[in-house]
């Protein structure tokens, strides 16, 4: 399936775009997705940094299985306040 992954702030600037379209297998997990994004955008985050993912506006663990149509967003380290 194809997912449109939204990027914010630091990740958006590093990628040079708001949205990256990623193809993953059916049954793919959040972790599979971030692996694929890293392949497409190698400078997104250093290897030692875990990329935090929100699925349908909630933080999602790396084992969460993705569904077609999921709203997937990559969340760089937050700095509100």
């Amino acid at each position: 399936m194809e997912l449109n992954v939204r990027l914010f702030a630091l990740y958006r600037e590093r990628a040079g775009k708001n949205i990256v379209t990623v193809a993953v297998a059916d049954g793919a997990t959040v972790s599979d997705l971030t692996d694929e994004v890293r392949r497409q955008i190698p400078n997104l985050a250093p290897p030692e940094v875990k990329i935090v993912v929100a699925v349908n506006t909630d933080y999602a663990d790396s084992e969460v299985v993705l569904q077609p149509g999921d709203d997937v967003c990559l969340i760089p380290p937050v700095s509100g306040g």
Binding site: R6, P46, V49, T57, V78, S79, G80
Partner: protein, 152 residues
């Protein structure tokens, strides 16, 4: 509105009014204001970016958590986004409570949680560049060091 995410100038008086009750003896207000310096560098202005839908949802979750944990009924949180000038208010947390102890505890925890979990990002703009700030509580994390290295 007990939760607000807005590009307009925040109005602490209005937000404080929301949590005042005749049954309460205490109102604690936190104002987060933008500072003019970072490690000796002059900050000209700040840009706040939010993942809006999720930020509003998480702010409401934090609000509900606090109300449950501290037995409170009056908690208001407003966060500004977009361009914010130096010395302006980026965050207001206001807590009304019968007694002050739970108000102080809840207000501190609210700010901590907001800085941990709300998908909002702050960019400091300098004369010669800019930097996405990582949460001050993770100031020396690898991610932020990398963030600084990549800032432009």
């Amino acid at each position: 509105m007990m939760i607000e995410l807005t590009e307009d100038t925040l109005n602490p008086e209005k937000i404080t009014e929301l949590v005042r009750r005749d049954t309460n003896g205490s109102v604690i207000t936190f104002l987060g204001t933008t500072r003019d310096n970072f490690e000796g560098k002059t900050v000209l202005t700040l840009e706040y970016e939010a993942f809006d839908e999720m930020a509003v949802k998480k702010l409401e979750e934090v609000r509900q958590e606090l109300m449950a944990e501290f037995g409170l009924e009056q908690v208001a949180i407003s966060h500004r986004i977009g361009t914010v000038g130096i010395g302006e208010i980026s965050l207001v947390v206001a807590i009304g409570s019968p007694h002050r102890k739970e108000g102080f505890n809840a207000c501190q925890k609210a700010v901590d949680r907001i800085k941990e979990v709300i998908p909002i990002w702050k960019k400091e703009v300098y004369q010669d560049g800019s930097r996405w700030v990582a949460c001050e509580d993770h100031e020396f994390s690898p991610e932020q060091a990398s963030g600084q290295g990549h800032s432009h």
